[in-house]
Symmetry: C2
Amino acid sequence: MLSRVRSAVAHLVSSGGTPPPRPKSPDLTNATSALPTAPLEVPKSPSARAGSGSTAPPKTAEARASFSRPTFLQLSPGGLRRADDHAGRAVQSPPDTGRRLPWSTGYAEVINAGKSRHNEDQACCEVVCVEGRRSVSGVPGEPRQGQGLCFYYWGLFDGHAGGGAAEMASRLLHCHIREQLKDLVEILQDPSPPPLCLPSTPGAPGSSDPSHLVGPQSCWSSQKEVTHESLVVGAIENAFHVMDEQMAQERRGHQVEGGCCALVVVYLLGKVYVANAGDSRAIIVRNGEIIPMSREFTPETERQRLQLLGFMKPELLGGEFTHLEFPRRVQPKELGQRMLYRDQTMTGWAYKKIELEDLRFPLVCGEGKKARMMATIGVTRGLGDHNLKVCSSTLPIKPFLSCFPEVRVYDLTQYEHCPDDVLVLGTDGLWDVTSDCEVAATVDRVLSGYEPNDPNRYTALAQALVLGARGAPRDRGWRLPNNKLGSGDDISVFIIPLGGPGSYS
Amino acid sequence: MLSRVRSAVAHLVSSGGTPPPRPKSPDLTNATSALPTAPLEVPKSPSARAGSGSTAPPKTAEARASFSRPTFLQLSPGGLRRADDHAGRAVQSPPDTGRRLPWSTGYAEVINAGKSRHNEDQACCEVVCVEGRRSVSGVPGEPRQGQGLCFYYWGLFDGHAGGGAAEMASRLLHCHIREQLKDLVEILQDPSPPPLCLPSTPGAPGSSDPSHLVGPQSCWSSQKEVTHESLVVGAIENAFHVMDEQMAQERRGHQVEGGCCALVVVYLLGKVYVANAGDSRAIIVRNGEIIPMSREFTPETERQRLQLLGFMKPELLGGEFTHLEFPRRVQPKELGQRMLYRDQTMTGWAYKKIELEDLRFPLVCGEGKKARMMATIGVTRGLGDHNLKVCSSTLPIKPFLSCFPEVRVYDLTQYEHCPDDVLVLGTDGLWDVTSDCEVAATVDRVLSGYEPNDPNRYTALAQALVLGARGAPRDRGWRLPNNKLGSGDDISVFIIPLGGPGSYS
């Protein structure tokens, strides 16, 4: 995540002065990129059955402290060194021998051009089986044989300010999703609507009986219908929260540094759930058509949420920031003049007379990839970041960040998919230099060069996308064919085929 | 606005008991439907040049205390009585003699079937001219000749709990928009980008000079570009706020009762601005295609905003409500069981163990037209409501309501419109029983029966839509041809033609 966490200028912020020039290649992350040296706590029941692309946690503290890549890449020590080489930037994919990733998923990644010591992206691909915590009939600890559920899982984690959070999330988030689903194993397999209330004690009756309702005249006259789908969405949302809480716990033991964006796909019972917290992106390319499956969460897209929080809890601004947005920095000499501004209620702009507190640094500033919250961070959702402070200040940034994803659902059964229909997941390294349309064109170009049943076609596509975003070394930089700069960020791409022979393996 | 404000059950809420049955035809509004008897304060410069559809305020306190309808209807005392007749529910339109509404706008309305004594919808159609407050050159009070701006204005106001707020908004909101635009008259007519900063004193230089910027390394390296369009959006947003503030002031003098939804259209310099706060709706029907120009703000659509506020400021819940949502009322006997819930961060549902405070009444409950906030109100944005309390409680509802509209912009110059392309505005009385597609079909059916240059075609269309939503008296009710119930609410419709001969008059 190139430049997503920058040095802040807080010591000058409150004085309204000019911040000092920043280094050309901000590399704050070096200071915190060492992975934790003690084993991380895992959930109580971490027995996820690893699929062919397991990212099982490194076994020793020594291994953990070194550079780690997804185990499904099956990198040798030499391969690991090549993957870690900023000069060569070799594209990495799982070997085409041995077990494939589920669904013949394609994957490729490349390290950044030097913005951080290691590749701070992480990836995970798993088949996870869930056994019920107890049956709905109320007998705990006695799941009936054969009643478990399995879900397919893909995750991309784009770390910043250190690799710890991304590495931890790649190892554990799917376990938390499994934990959240344990209560739902029987409910999700029962075609009748989910019970609104479950008994607390074995054998006690459920209470979905509508006779419990209050009078028919009230707004409660009917109970709300809750779908199976919305239970899965709730489970994923809460799993993100529990994951973030666990990082907070680990932080107290000084275990987890940094934060990460998380883009996660769960396939369960015919539906694809895409959960995004951060600025990675997922699109479906179906018969050439682009279907967005996520949106990015940045200081620009979440401006009003951030401003509202700063307005309602001004103590979070520490007297250093103003919740108002201005189109440029207000200068002390402009006091009393009228400047364009907007607050948490506005999408348009208006003029206001500049007062003393408008000279504070704005909570949200900048545009596009340069947009920042508290002059520090360029993403507003994700996991971790519990230690992140405004630079040269003790002001915590975490209260403004949200760990909750937006979840979109795609019903795989509603459309007959062909082998060229794919779900593309990419970290911002891909999307910073590649539009949705360009990705769709590459999907068409690459897949049409392979037989529909060639299992290598999706990895070839992932590689083509990563290469296309990285470019080639030329004129002292990585450049695209049109001579524009390629992405100097870490780039990671999953290609998940939605149909066709052999894809649902 | 049928049943949008209902009696609440707060005295039972905190005990977790069953609320008493409510009257079948809640008519709380009768108690507060008398209009204020003293003249309302108008902005300092209320010299809007009334167009052909002026809703000039009634001149005397006596007139104000009686039933009032838009003056462009030109109703005689007898006509006013017929318009006020719940039994006949005669559709009202401007007479086809005399001056037409601007753009040959069509309009029709009908009173409710008895839910309130009077029609609580109000409407306004104006041509408003704005003279600059001062020139950008800094000489106050000296607008140059011929430099004024005119905008076209249409407003629908759907009142609840009394007609005062809707009546006041219909008389004054456009004046507030004009006030907000006064600073912008020269800026909007200057093709160069708006200055980011204006001098406070005559002759002082503006400060859009980029040399004022901080170092190029910061997120401030470029100033944000602000468009003319976003200035108009900001002006409309702030006008809504000032209007609401004025109602709060009047309330202190016990002048304004109730609240209202506001749906407003401003046409200025080639663009149509549609501002909506409430549950009215605007759509464009263009060449048969439907373009939504607003969305509704209800306890359902704004659930997460309301829950976040209740979570962050629990004192606003007064110990009577919980910010959590449940799919039905939690019963005291269910303590300790696990109920489905969702909070401000979730779109899905999950189970939680029921605790004592979950027995409080939920901030948001119900579905569709029965959705309520604090068991009282079914819309979450609008003007007024400063006196609104949870029934049998002193808990104010206003902190949860927002007066800020969502503004959508449509560039009229980007498409060559034909005479059948129209912008349809309707209060919820129309949309409760008529889908967007049905409206588009009626647009096609009615307009194809008139010559393109017949100025009566748009009023005929408005009448057809109102009649179609009202239905005919049959089987002790107002029924549609398919025998479903028609709308018993007040119904008001504007049809604004977007092109064609004579429409831009």
